[in-house]
């Protein structure tokens, strides 16, 4: 299928977020795709607070089933989470479990005034009561497929769809 252009979606997403930026707005990306987007949004909107990155491996709900992810990166929230307006950024919103884990982790840094969610693609299929406030595009995709954001060496973003069926 024809996937939308990630760079165009990002431009649209940035324009949707722009009117809501305040002095204590912080951008936090979920590792790895969300972190790429967060850095771009942070730069484009000239956000004062430094950008944050979350690796939610320690908060996943499937740890007891699949164990610890082999490559955990440190989370970095280089601002005071207390009373900040956080915009959480991820590349693809699907079951909502990643966002649930990220929100839990954020609260362990303090009590934010608010948390909003911005995603490049909402592909439906939610298993939890979670919705994005800012969405690049809504896509309907086959259930057994994986949509991923890629970043090329020159920093250009693109979407990639892979089938998860084997054999």
């Amino acid at each position: 299928m024809q996937l939308p252009d990630a760079e165009q979606l990002l431009t649209q997403l940035i324009e949707k977020i722009r009117p809501d930026i305040a002095g204590n707005t912080a951008i936090v990306g979920i590792h790895t795709g969300g972190a790429w987007l967060a850095r771009r949004i942070h730069q484009a909107l000239e956000i004062a607070l430094p950008v944050g990155v979350l690796d939610i491996s320690f908060y996943r709900d499937d740890y007891s089933k699949i164990g610890l992810h082999p490559q955990v990166r440190p989370s970095q929230l280089p601002f005071d989470a207390e009373n900040s307006h956080i915009i959480l950024v991820d590349d693809v919103l699907y079951t909502g479990r990643t966002v649930r884990a990220a929100v839990n982790e954020l609260f362990d840094y303090g009590r934010p005034a608010s948390i909003d969610l911005a995603v490049l693609v909402d592909r439906g299929g939610r298993e939890l009561p979670i919705a994005a406030r800012y969405t690049g595009e809504v896509l309907t995709l086959p259930e057994n497929s994986m949509l991923e954001l890629r970043q090329s060496d020159d920093g250009k973003l693109s979407l990639d769809l892979r089938s998860l069926t084997t054999g």
């Binding site: 908060y59 610890l68 955990v72 440190p74």
Partner: protein, 316 residues
Amino acid sequence: MGVHPQLNKNGELQHLLTTEGLPAVILRHILDTAESFTGVTERDVKKIPLLRGKSVFNLFFEPSTRTRTTFEIAAKRLSADVINLNMAVSSQTKGETLLDTVDNLSAMHADMFIVRHNQSGAAHLIARHVRPEIHVINAGDGWHAHPTQALLDMFTIRRYKQDFHALRVAIIGDILHSRVARSQIHALTTLGVPEIRVIAPKTLLPAKVERLGVHVYHNMVQGLQDVDVLMMLRLQHERMESAHLPSTEEYFKYYGLTPEKLALARSDAIVMHPGPMNRGVEIDSEVADGTQSVILPQVNFGIAVRMAVMSILAGN
């Protein structure tokens, strides 16, 4: 269980019993994971929900403050329930065998045992005995191994020196009675340190220690030349059954780390010590509290490393 009693059939870490024979990829995975845990200490909530609902039993058959406490803090930071058992004053003194004790605690739904014992092989014995869903961590057994101490030492070295492949490391002191030294030597070798030295009087070195691939020195002046990392060991009075040394004063004169002896090493060398320190016996206060000492950071890193080990084990 086969050659590696600490690995499961998928080659993943099931128990942590020794650093001997542990593949470099597993050692690095533990160090990398520990890196992610160091940030948790600086947060508002110093807890992660990974081991929520799990029970960790601290089985200490030998006195220990630092190791037991850091294991307890690490388990609590991972949201586990921690049960401390001071076995020296417990059922074993009433005649119960080690494995009966373990069976009883397993019946209380233990998920993990942290074991410290004065007999080499105690943690292995328990690991072979327990059900496959229970994990065992060796927190020191006799003269044999103390893998989490060695891992936190590796973490400390990597923090200050980055690359293991260009280092000269000296382990100094009572190698003979030291499970820490054995675990350090295995870990340093696996991680690719090209030159490991041991510096000690003959009476405090195990027979044929050079078989471990280390260079043996009996003299600090030669041994400390161009060294990047100094790993001091405690003089273990309680393990000395016969006279290995004329006196502690004599020992300090020849092997105690003073600022003058430290000056023989590289100017950017770091000084480590697993604790507890005997000031004025193996190390001079001026060195222990000096700018090249990383002894207190080691304690802090110990928490992150133990969190990493527990979370990797519990997930396998």
